[in-house]
Symmetry: C2
Subunit: 331 residues, 2 copies
């Protein structure tokens, strides 16, 4: 039986969207038990389908603008940290939150602890590529100002993640750079590039921005500053293109006819680029399964994040990462 804690107060549309998403996940039997953490007085009246849903009260919430260190000092009693405490105690097997992602990273490290040999846990976002597969970007925003050893750890965790969850036997690991040639890169990537060749992953060398979506690599490794810029440009362009078509269609009757016939293609594309379809991104390197969702998560995004968490529980993700890290650093 899978039990998952969901931060009912996290995200722009909380607690409504979170409660609805949790109810959907139970109704669709994605998970047997959900524990909503947060202010009971606010959450309880919203629940329409109580089957499988439990509330664990937390008096405060982490706000979106709070600094991670500030939240860590003042918000130990928050809905967010309550989830991590439940995971630490074994009451649940995963946590889902759409709250302040910096604070989530801080509380995950503080309450769950890091997996041995991991200095910096990282956010791994999952991107559909044009070959019909997925490409994982990490770190997508947890860690700015990384040292070479951190990127090596991201590569090893990314390798374990893709192997255990997507069943790819020897994932291709690329290092994000400003060109594929050996002479490219900055101080950080040049050092990592040399180190990568000596570790036991299928390192394919430098990759470029274009390679995040063309299916040439399974994992794209970078520091969290670059990763976050990359992630948000991806989101932004896809949204811009769809809004461009929408405007076009509104202006012209013939285009509206065309749209009618192509609706499936647009819908499929919208799904591909829609954050809510992926649900969220795992935080890898903390000792427990934790899914970080977009702040704008709606009911569907929350439900799909719960589905992702369930998948990771079934695939025993945390143990895979632990075993991989141990085998790399003890050999």
């Amino acid at each position: 039986m899978a039990r998952i804690a969901v931060d009912a107060m996290g995200g722009d549309f909380a607690p409504q969207a979170v409660v609805r998403g949790a109810e959907s996940a139970c109704r669709e039997k994605i998970v047997e038990q959900i524990i909503l953490t947060g202010n009971e007085d606010l959450i309880k009246p919203l629940i329409k389908e109580p089957k499988g849903i439990e509330i664990v009260h937390a008096p405060v919430s982490v706000e979106m603008h709070e600094t991670p260190s500030g939240a860590l000092r003042k918000k130990r009693d928050s809905s967010m940290n309550r989830g991590f405490e439940l995971l630490k105690s074994g009451a649940v097997q995963a946590v889902v939150t759409a709250g302040n992602s910096g604070a989530a990273l801080a509380f995950a490290i503080f309450t769950l602890g890091r997996i041995g040999m991991v200095d910096r846990p990282a956010i791994a976002t999952i991107h559909p590529n044009i070959k019909g597969g997925i490409t994982v970007l990490m770190d997508a925003g947890g860690n700015v100002d990384c040292k070479p050893a951190h990127l090596i750890q991201f590569a090893i965790m990314g390798d374990a993640f893709v192997r255990s969850v997507f069943g790819i036997k020897s994932p291709r690991i690329g290092l994000l750079s400003n060109g594929q040639e050996e002479t490219k890169g900055n101080e950080l990537t040049r050092e990592v590039h040399t180190m990568m060749k000596s570790i036991d992953v299928n390192y394919i060398g430098y990759v470029e921005g274009t390679d995040l979506h063309n299916g040439c690599t399974d994992v794209v490794v970078c520091d969290g500053f670059v990763g976050n810029v990359a992630l948000k440009i991806s989101e932004g362009i896809a949204e811009s293109l769809l809004s461009f078509f929408k405007e076009s269609v509104e202006k012209s009757i013939t285009k509206r006819i065309g749209y009618f016939f192509m609706k499936d293609a647009f819908e499929e594309l919208r799904k591909k680029v829609d954050y809510s379809e992926h649900g969220g991104a795992p935080l890898l390197g903390v000792d427990g399964i934790c899914i970080i969702c977009h702040g704008k998560s709606d009911e569907k995004a929350i439900k799909n994040a719960i589905r992702l968490a369930r998948n990771f529980i079934d695939k025993n993700l945390n143990e895979s990462i632990k075993e991989t890290m141990i085998s790399y650093f003890q050999s």
Copy 2:
């Protein structure tokens, strides 16, 4: 009368595509005189419409895989550097090259020299945004491992560029970061963020990846490593989306009907994301107008790059940047 030097040997489709592009530019009266630099034996037989075209022989070419320092040592007699020498001597008013962009930056600095007060010339790419305007990204790849002062110079040059070429009176300058909050950024951006507030530009603070295409800012400032990743992700996603629609359409008759009615919208979009429509990107901070084109430039891209160069000559871009730099650093 405008005279522009075009590197006939630069780019994946040189010299054919370059010669055709130069001929188109003359035929369409974009420019009165073009000097093609390169191997005369190879170029001459390709010319079908000699009106307005002149050849200046250069015995060697810079290859795409050469390092900038290697090219600088061994290829002073190259088609690329010949263009810069012509510009330096006053024989032409601008240079266009689709060759090795690192080498172009090196030769531009070596032969033309930098504008006073500029430590690092930068590549400024021009992106259409959803508001129907443009957003300039700089540096898009010239300089990895920047210091805070370099980014300040990029901001000032970007400000002058947008004012003089696009007529925007008080361009909004954003600093690319991993979030808009003051607490975001890495070591480099945090320092630049503080410095930006004390210079006389319309600094709007941190911007994110999404802001490159949503029209919220006129200039996006970043180091060349991050800028190059951003640029290539933009290119890659747009291509991926168009190829996604193409596949969709090929598979289904109803979608093909839909496509027929929406063809204009697709064509318009293709133009927006197609590199060849923009032509190229100016290298700002060297003492002369220099347009760097994509290595994959075809005839149309070369022609449009020549059009861009002509526009910059007419707008007196180089003098604007010089004056702006002097006024900032002497006040």
